[in-house]
C-alpha cells in the first residue's frame, strides 16, 4: 500500500513518469442515492484509470452518472462502494486537507459557482489562506496572471465579469492550492464557442506547464476529443466502453451506444464540414 512518503516522492520532477504512477484509479465503483425501494444506482461497477499527467474524458447523456463519479471522488457523495485512489493513496470515507490540496474541481456554470457578494480577491484570498499559504498578495496576482486576467480584475465582483472571465476566476480558484489533479465538470458548456476556445486553450496550456492530471466530464465529444487522450462512454450508470480518442475519431468503436453518440455529433459535423 502506498504511503504518504511515496506520494511525497512523486512530487519530485520526473519520478512519477518513470514509475508510471496513476493519478486517479477507480475500481468497481458503485454510487447510489436513497435507500431500500427508493434506492437509485447512479453508478454501477465503474472502473477507470488515469495516469499521472494524463487527460481522461467521461462522456454520456445527462443522468448517465458521469458527474456523479466526479462528485464521489471529491467526497460530495457519501454513499459509495468500491475502490478509489488518488496519486497512489486509497480514499476512505473522509477526505483530508492533503486531498483537497491535490484535487480541485471546476464546475459547469461559472454564474452559479462563484459567490455573488465576494470579490475575486476574496474568493482567491480565502482559498489561499484555508490552505495555509502566507504570501497571499503575491499569489493572487500570480494566479490572475496565470489564467490571463491580470491585476485589473482583482477587486471585481462576479457580476462585473463576463462568462469567460468568471470561468477563468473559477479556474484560478481551483489552481490556488497548487493541485496536481483537476476535475472538470462541463467547464465550457455554458460558454459561447469563441470563449470556449479560449478556455480550452488555457486548460491545455496549464496542463502542459504544470503537469496536471485532468478528468473531464462533457457531453460534447468534440471537446473531449480535443482535450483528452482516452475516453470512457457512460450509459445508464455504467461505463460501456473505454477507448483511446484516436479510435473514437476513426470510428473504431465496439459498443452500439458509442456509435450512436458519435453519429449524433458527426452527423452535425459532416453537414458543417
Amino acid at each position: 500500500m502506498n504511503t504518504r512518503a511515496d506520494t511525497g516522492a512523486n512530487t519530485g520532477a520526473d519520478t512519477q513518469a518513470t514509475k508510471g504512477a496513476n493519478g486517479i484509479e477507480i475500481e468497481n465503483l458503485n454510487v447510489w442515492f436513497g435507500e431500500h425501494e427508493d434506492r437509485v444506482d447512479a453508478v454501477r461497477d465503474a472502473s477507470l484509470c488515469v495516469p499521472e499527467g494524463g487527460s481522461f474524458g467521461l462522456v454520456g447523456e445527462s443522468g448517465s452518472g458521469k458527474s456523479t463519479i466526479l462528485r464521489a471522488l471529491t467526497g460530495l457523495v457519501p454513499t459509495w462502494s468500491g475502490r478509489m485512489a488518488v496519486l497512489g493513496r486509497d480514499l476512505g470515507r473522509r477526505r483530508d486537507r492533503e486531498f483537497y490540496r491535490s484535487v480541485q474541481m471546476v464546475f459547469q456554470d461559472p454564474y452559479a459557482s462563484l459567490h455573488p457578494r465576494q470579490s475575486v480577491d476574496q474568493v482567491l484570498g480565502e482559498t489561499l489562506s484555508l490552505h495555509g499559504f502566507h504570501d497571499i498578495d503575491r499569489r493572487i496576482n500570480k494566479l490572475l496572471d496565470d489564467v490571463g486576467l491580470g491585476p485589473a480584475f482583482r477587486f471585481r465582483y462576479p457580476h462585473q465579469l463576463s462568462g469567460g472571465q468568471r470561468q477563468r476566476v473559477a479556474i484560478a480558484r481551483a489552481l490556488a492550492p497548487e493541485p496536481r489533479i483537476l476535475l472538470l465538470d462541463e467547464p465550457t458548456s455554458a460558454l459561447d464557442v469563441s470563449v470556449q476556445a479560449e478556455i480550452l486553450n488555457l486548460l491545455v496550456d496549464l496542463r502542459a506547464e504544470r503537469g496536471l492530471t485532468y478528468l473531464m466530464v462533457s457531453h460534447n465529444l468534440a471537446v473531449v476529443g480535443h482535450m483528452c487522450s482516452d475516453v470512457a462512454v457512460m450509459q445508464l450508470g455504467e461505463i460501456v466502453e473505454t477507448l483511446p480518442v484516436e479510435d473514437m475519431r476513426a470510428g473504431r468503436t465496439t459498443h452500439p451506444y458509442t456509435r450512436h453518440l458519435l453519429q449524433a455529433s458527426l452527423g452535425e459535423m459532416a453537414a458543417g464540414a
Binding site: A197, S265, M269
Partner: protein, 285 residues
C-alpha cells in the same frame, strides 16, 4: 417564394444610465416557407430579434421598425388585444428551457388543451382528443399517461416535446424556436429537431431557428443569418456555411473543436472593432 413575414429595419433599444443601448441595429429579413437560422454569440441580438417580432419586449425596452409585416398587416400597428390573437395562433415561440416555460402546477395535458381552447372554438372533449393526437405527433409513446403528468415528472427532452406539441396545436404559420435544444443532450437533441422538422415541413410552416450552434444550424436550416453586435453581418445558404466569408463567421467556425480534424490549439476569435460599424446585410429575399 411566398413571404410569410417581412421585417425591415428593426431596432431594439434599452435606455441605460450611460445613454441608449442599441441591442438590435437595423435588421432586415424575410421568411418564406423555409427554415431560417439566426446564429450569433450571446449579446448578438438574435434572441431579441425573435422576441421583438412577437412584441414581447417590455418597456423600458423600445422596438422600432419600418415594418414587421405578417400577411399585409404591420404587427407594430396592432393593438395589444389584436396582438394576442397573433401570438400562438399565427406565430408561436419555443424557448430554451421547458422547465421555465411550462406551468409547474398544471398537468401537461391540460396545458396543451388550454392552448387549443384559447385559439379554437371547440369543446373540452375535442380539445382533449386533439391533445392526445398532438402528443402522439411529437412521438410520446403513452400520451394518455403523459397527459396526466406534471412538468416536474417529465425529462428535459420530453418537456421540450410537450412544448412543441403545445406550440403546434393552434396550427400557427410561423414557429420561432429560440435555442430549443441547447438544454438537451446530444442524442435527444437530434430526436427533438427531427420531430420539429417533420411538423414544420408537413404543415408548410416557416421556422425561425435561433441558435449559437453553427453546426446545428448548418445541418438543420435552409438559410442562415449571422448576427454580430445587433446586425446581420452575413447571410448564406445553410449548406454553404463552411464557405462563409466574413471574418467573424470564419472565426466562429475555426474556434470549434472538431472530432474529425484535431488541432493542437483552437483558433481564438479576434474581434475587429470595425465589424460593429460595418453596414448590416439584408436577409430579405
Amino acid at each position: 417564394m411566398s413571404r410569410l413575414l417581412d421585417v425591415e429595419d428593426l431596432w431594439v433599444r434599452f435606455p441605460t444610465r450611460s445613454g441608449m443601448f442599441e441591442a438590435v441595429r437595423g435588421v432586415s429579413f424575410s421568411l418564406g416557407r423555409e427554415r431560417l437560422g439566426i446564429v450569433g454569440e450571446s449579446g448578438s441580438g438574435k434572441s431579441l430579434t425573435g422576441r421583438a417580432i412577437l412584441r414581447l419586449i417590455r418597456p423600458p425596452g423600445q422596438v422600432q421598425a419600418r415594418r414587421i409585416d405578417l400577411d399585409g398587416h404591420d404587427l407594430l400597428s396592432l393593438t395589444e388585444r389584436q396582438m394576442r390573437t397573433v401570438r400562438g395562433q399565427r406565430i408561436s415561440m419555443i424557448m430554451q428551457d421547458p422547465k421555465f416555460s411550462l406551468n409547474p402546477v398544471m398537468r401537461v395535458g391540460e396545458q396543451i388543451a388550454e392552448a387549443y381552447l384559447l385559439h379554437a372554438n371547440t369543446s373540452r372533449r375535442q380539445a382533449r382528443q386533439k391533445t392526445l393526437e398532438m402528443l402522439e405527433a411529437v412521438r410520446i409513446r403513452d400520451p394518455e399517461r403523459v397527459a396526466r403528468l406534471y412538468p416536474h415528472e417529465v425529462s428535459g427532452g420530453m418537456g421540450q416535446r410537450i412544448m412543441i406539441a403545445m406550440m403546434m396545436i393552434p396550427d400557427p404559420e410561423i414557429l420561432i424556436a429560440d435555442e430549443p435544444t441547447s438544454a438537451l443532450d446530444v442524442s435527444v437533441q437530434m430526436q427533438v429537431l427531427d420531430i420539429m422538422d417533420k411538423l414544420v415541413r408537413e404543415r408548410g410552416m416557416g421556422l425561425i431557428f435561433i441558435s449559437h450552434d453553427l453546426n446545428l444550424v448548418s445541418a438543420f436550416c435552409d438559410r442562415v443569418l449571422i448576427m454580430y453586435g445587433g446586425r446581420i453581418v452575413e447571410t448564406c445558404a445553410a449548406d454553404r456555411l463552411h464557405e462563409a466569408r466574413h471574418p467573424y463567421t470564419r472565426g466562429l467556425l475555426n474556434a470549434l473543436p472538431r472530432l474529425d480534424a484535431p488541432r493542437p490549439r483552437l483558433e481564438v476569435l479576434k474581434r475587429d472593432p470595425a465589424w460593429r460599424d460595418e453596414p448590416g446585410v439584408s436577409g430579405r429575399q
